[in-house]
Symmetry: C2
DNA sequence: AGAATAGTGTCTTTAAGACAATATGGC
DNA sequence: GCCATATTGTCTTAAAGACACTATTCT
């Protein structure tokens, strides 16, 4: 059948005639608590892979979601109640075997949220509007679970992206509350990178590159009070001029 | 309807019951010729957007393609005849308005190929097995065209990824033949970055980081013969320790 | 005073940028 | 010898790493 115009073509077009892959979005929602990087997992309440732990995600709602980011954002709000955390696409994985229902594609995102803010919201909305049970799991524990589908691999991709971006961006600031001390921020970086950082270099880098700015407040928590800083850039994707190095050989 | 086992669920599952977005892969195939970055565009021979220039791409073949990369690779081979160029995912874009047929998602890739190798293959297989007309277009020209769908935006994304990776990886080497001179390689970098680079810094960087290695051959092309080098890493994703800087203020 | 945490001084190191100088081969 | 292009020498600069030192508060 041939058509003489775009309009005529479109009026005859029926996408159900074609075999399309399943398409979902999945996300790794990260947070830091108890000195460890945590990820929010849900327990699947439906087939397939019922009762397994999985990354939150699901199908696009073609009538509600205007674009991929909006769809992911909607799911994130449903799970956490948080409106504007950092959300970023990691990769898109698709193959014939990852889902027993058939050829399936997933767009993988990761989100970074402040654990304290999540707790505040979670206690407010006592009744979660989700039927799925969810839980924060440390990365170390998550890697030991038998996650649904290829979600272990997806989780690895997301962690790798996060830690590689922590080497040259201010991204980890999005895991912090509005005001924070540089020591607190450094601890978050160290958890993400799995490596300890030089205090002086870290502070100099943050301040001199203009990533953070002093506030007039300080935080008293036992010992010497610490200066509170706030993030001083528009985007968490702020790039430092250089990468954080891996530890040098000859350091004691 | 409830199911008592995964098997029972799957035997009743019919994906056509659900409304899924259209899913395609698209790619920006880059090459350098005549001192300019070029992209391979095809002229669409079917509706929708018939007769418009577009990035090569299309639907997944669920029976032939094992995964997304394989599908993209197959399309790339169909267009260029080249088997193992660099191929990399850039991003996945999906929304309700980018395709008149409905909610559509595309996984965008870019490929880097040696223009000379392409010409050689193209003349070998005189009869291209593609019905679509394709043509190399310089980036400057491509940006002036009224490309199909949101392909102008996709092209921009791919170019941005390429040039940002040229700042800290050896990726542009994949646009070169097996053996090349450092001056030739530097020219490619300069075209991609749209910026001239310091000769000494460039050579030192390439050699000292171990990205390239001398061969015992040299190239005579008129004036002083130049040493031929080959790439000395496994992956084109080799990272240099630092980024190439933007030109300094006080340089003459 | 002592402990613990916050914050600074300052020397070293690494790799890039600037730019002048030298080398090689064709004509 | 002259020109064009290839290649090197070497000084400067930017920002990170190392590590010791000082500062502030609590008990």
């Amino acid at each position: 059948m041939t058509f003489s115009s775009e309009q005529e073509f479109l009026s005859h077009y029926n996408k159900k005639e074609f075999d399309a892959p399943l398409f979902t979005v999945d996300m790794a929602i990260f947070s830091v608590d108890a000195g460890q990087l945590q990820v929010l997992l849900i327990k699947r309440s439906n087939f397939p892979q019922k009762d397994k732990w999985a990354l939150p995600g699901g199908f696009i709602d073609l009538s509600k979601d205007t674009d991929l980011m909006a769809s992911t954002h909607r799911k994130l709000v449903e799970k956490t109640g948080l409106k504007s955390p950092h959300l970023e696409q990691v990769a898109t994985i698709g193959n014939a075997t990852r889902d027993p229902r058939g050829w399936a594609v997933t767009a993988l995102y990761f989100a970074l949220i402040d654990f304290k803010a999540f707790q505040r919201i979670a206690t407010e909305q006592t009744e979660q509007n989700t039927t799925e049970y969810s839980e924060w799991v440390s990365i170390a524990d998550a890697k030991k679970l038998d996650l649904a589908f290829d979600h272990l691999q997806l989780l690895d991709l997301a962690i790798e992206r996060l830690s590689s971006k922590a080497r040259y961006t201010a991204l980890p600031v999005s895991l912090m509350p509005e005001l924070f001390t540089l020591t607190e921020l450094q601890q978050i970086y160290e958890i993400i990178l799995g490596q300890s950082l030089e205090k002086k270099s870290f502070r100099r880098r943050m301040i001199e590159a203009g990533a953070v700015e002093e506030t007039d407040q300080s935080k008293i928590a036992g010992k010497r009070p610490a200066q509170l800083y706030r993030y001083a850039q528009d985007s968490f994707d702020f790039h430092f001029p250089r990468i954080l190095e891996y530890p040098r050989e000859n350091s004691k």
